[in-house]
């Protein structure tokens, strides 16, 4: 029987986009990049790590299917295609105008959990440890609670053995190895190695594949299911005043010496 892996991948604003390019609607909690800047969105970095992890696991277990799910309202297909051209088998896009501003991660989790159940049998759900836009690091943890399955956050190594996922995760003091019975939800960090580049063959294959799209109605979600429990009342760029004192000197060596003297004078050392 095939081993079914579901990967959750989010489309985000490129985290490298300069903050000067942001267009913010504070009270709506909306942030977009100025369209004239032509900065394309990207697949969240940790989600690419999760796809990479899924493909490594697929190689290790042999007979496996990797399905990618993403929820949002305006997908850029050229961007999302990468998930498939890296080597995934299927892509599901949960797309609805109602998903444009998911203001509470419990809704996002409900949406994705519903889709996972709709797909059917799954052995492993992989997700990024954190999305680079809203930085919650909690959607996958919520999904595990909804599905009632174990969860291992922030793994850096996963081995599938005897119906369990053996995960290594970094801790403050070092690392730990956790064994979770399958099915389970695991989030990954960036220690799985560089996400692979799509091969020409996979790019061609991806071009022929149409993603499966579901909207709120098809997922059986009512407006009540989508009502938030937290409210965003403002979004702003904090003001910062620079008051850096630049240390002068004849040459860089003298600047170094002067910095030592300055730090002593300011009682920093």
């Amino acid at each position: 029987m095939s081993f079914n892996i579901v990967v959750l991948a989010k489309q985000v604003i490129d985290p490298e986009a300069p903050s000067a390019s942001y267009r913010i609607d504070g009270s709506a909690g909306k942030l977009e990049v100025d369209s004239s800047q032509k900065i394309a969105p990207v697949i969240n970095g940790f989600c690419e790590n999760a796809i990479e992890a899924a493909l490594q696991i697929k190689e290790a277990v042999g007979d496996a299917t990797v399905s990618v799910i993403s929820a949002g309202s305006d997908f850029v297909m050229d961007v999302m295609k990468k998930a498939v051209s890296m080597g995934s088998d299927e892509m599901y896009l949960l797309q609805d105008e109602k998903f444009s501003n998911l203001n509470d991660s419990s809704i996002t989790a409900k949406l994705l959990a519903t889709a996972i159940q709709k797909i059917g049998e799954y052995d492993l759900v992989l997700a990024g440890m954190q999305a680079s836009d809203w930085d919650q690091a909690q959607v996958p943890l919520g999904i595990a609670e909804i599905l009632g399955v174990p969860c291992v956050p922030i793994a850096r190594k996963i081995e599938i053995k005897d119906g369990r996922a053996i995960c290594e995760r970094a801790t403050d003091a070092g690392y730990e190895t956790v064994s979770a019975p399958l099915p389970s939800v695991i989030t990954v960090n960036n220690e799985f190695g560089q996400p692979r580049y799509p091969t020409l063959r996979n790019i061609m294959a991806a071009a022929r594949k149409t993603p499966i799209t579901w909207d709120a109605a098809e997922l059986g979600l009512s407006d009540d299911d989508l009502s938030p429990r937290i409210k965003i009342v403002d979004l702003f760029i904090p003001e910062k005043q620079s008051q850096c004192e630049i240390i002068e000197g004849e040459d860089e060596e003298e600047m170094g010496r002067n910095l030592a003297l300055k730090m002593r004078e300011a009682k920093l050392i």
């Binding site: 604003i13 985290p15 903050s19 942001y22 913010i24 909690g29 942030l31 419990s106 989790a109 809203w134 930085d135 919650q136 690091a137 909690q138 943890l141 919520g142 609670e145 174990p150 291992v152 956050p153 053996i166 970094a170 801790t171 403050d172 003091a173 070092g174 690392y175 730990e176 190895t177 956790v178 064994s179 960090n189 220690e191 938030p228 429990r229 937290i230 409210k231 965003i232 009342v233 403002d234 979004l235 702003f236 760029i237 904090p238 620079s242 850096c244 004192e245 630049i246 860089e252 060596e253 600047m255 170094g256 010496r257 910095l259 030592a260 003297l261 730090m263 300011a266 920093l268 050392i269």
Partner: protein, 327 residues
Amino acid sequence: MSEILLVGEVNGGNLAEATAELIAHGKPLAESLTSSISVALLDQDSTSAAQEAISQGADKVYNIKDSLLGTYQTDAYLASLAKLIQEINPIAVLISKTEIGADIGARLAFRVDTGIVQDCIEVSVNSDNKIQANRPVFGGNCMATVVCESTPMMALIRPKTKEALEADTSRSGDVVDYNADLDESVIKNQVVERVEEVQEGIRLEDAARIVGGGRGMNGPEPFDNELKDLADTMGAAIGASRAAVDIGWVPYSYQIGLTGKKVAPDLYLLVGISGASQHMAGCSGSKNLVAINKDPDANIFRDARFGVVGDWEKVLPALTQQLKELM
């Protein structure tokens, strides 16, 4: 009177610093909501920690007891906290975003069926008597103000964003034992092994002084030589940016930032680090930032108190030499 429940932590028998800070965050909320502060401790024998929590400002301490609660195990912690919350019905639950807090916060919220505000740096009560928080988003480039609309109102608060109150040992409060009565079946995950990697020298999170290196170090060697020499001279711990970690110059345990360690030393000296918001998210609580960077337009000079615009290969040896003479 309604209660605000704080999830406490114990460190080597003592109340964790993060919990003392959490009490400081909770106090003004309790005043506005005319509630009391309760702290849940999940350590088996934390009698002194309970008293410490009271000295720090708690009105009540729940000592949660269960044979499954020896060392930290997520499933057991989650199950017992969920049980306590369902039983005492607090108006709010505050958790510090420590390693344990980040692990249980979101799941606890889902389990008791409420929303949670993540990674807050400031919490207050708004005019509707709702908890409102400021939280950095977009890697720290933006700030969002978020309000809890469901009960219990839950917030995960970033450590080192508020100083603990002065301990008052004359304060008294209730210490209540709470038997979680867990069924062994709640434990799903098995911790196979836990390895402590002894990092040489001072722990980053505890260090009063830190020297950090970034991509501008141009290789792993300077971390063992020039940077280490400087750190040893200053009695500082060594940290790094994610760029330096990703290239493999230093292990992940060195990483400071949004997805690394959160530090708040008295002095953080950054060398060859540009000052990306995601890096600053891990060190914004530092009292003094000093930067050495060859690019005068580097972002780091917007945050630093003192800066040297120059090549560290020339600046560092002279700085270290001068420090040696001063110390």
